[in-house]
Amino acid sequence: LAKTTQPISMDSYEGQEVNITCSHNNIATNDYITWYQQFPSQGPRFIIQGYKTKVTNEVASLFIPADRKSSTLSLPRVSLSDTAVYYCLVAQANQAGTALIFGKGTTLSVSS
């Protein structure tokens, strides 16, 4: 499984756009890039996933360059409730039942 590296922590203010970058230099051809969010004392929650280029949903955008060795999670106009730990994971597609391997994630703190 490809190892991921992301910043330990980030600080932001309400209303700002937050970009969290993750590197995954050894990503394999069949790997998808997936981001999860975890609030204190809760289970991780799926945010977004992608394979290449850009993916956008109602919560976030995910930018993946052509070489797929990194990805950037973009959270538009964050609020206090976006304070959480964000995990970048690489997981094989077409492989049901595969374990998700979590790193330490990025702790995002949003202040007013």
């Binding site: 998808y32 997936t34 975890q38 004392s41 809760q42 289970g43 991780p44 929650r45 799926f46 996933q49 394979y51 995990y87 997981a91 597609a93 077409n94 492989q95 049901a96 039942g97 595969t98 374990a99 998700l100 391997i101 979590f102 790193g103 330490k104 994630g105």
Partner: protein
């Protein structure tokens, strides 16, 4: 929106005792997982389960752990003889057979906090 549920929310047990943690996965999901998170540490994979058998397990999932799907709705994790180091938050997750995008989004439950004294 369908969700994974877990009971109890908090379990306190004495070292050496057996505990069973219960989960009700999302009804049309076929893959089930257990993860744990020791306080202040990262989420760790324990085991995945499909078609009434373990499909993958980690080094953490040793002989003191077992999983079972006793009926059509519940998925359980049993720890036979708990140790102090088993104290953690245990998360159950489930996923569908195949996601529309080709990957397998896992839906996590709220967790059971296990405290071993």
């Amino acid at each position: 929106e369908p969700e994974v549920t877990q009971t109890p929310s908090h379990q306190v047990t004495q070292m050496g005792q057996e505990v069973i943690l219960r989960c009700v996965p999302i009804s049309n999901h076929l893959y089930f997982y257990w993860y744990r998170q020791i306080l202040g540490q990262k989420v760790e994979f324990l085991v995945s389960f499909y078609n009434n058998e373990i499909s993958e397990k980690s080094e953490i999932f040793d002989d003191q752990f077992s999983v079972e799907r006793p009926d059509g709705s519940n998925f359980t994790l049993k720890i036979r003889s708990t140790k102090l180091e088993d104290s953690a938050m245990y998360f159950c997750a489930s996923s569908a057979l195949r996601g529309t995008s080709g990957s397998y989004e896992q839906y996590f439950g709220p967790g059971t906090r296990l405290t071993v004294t």
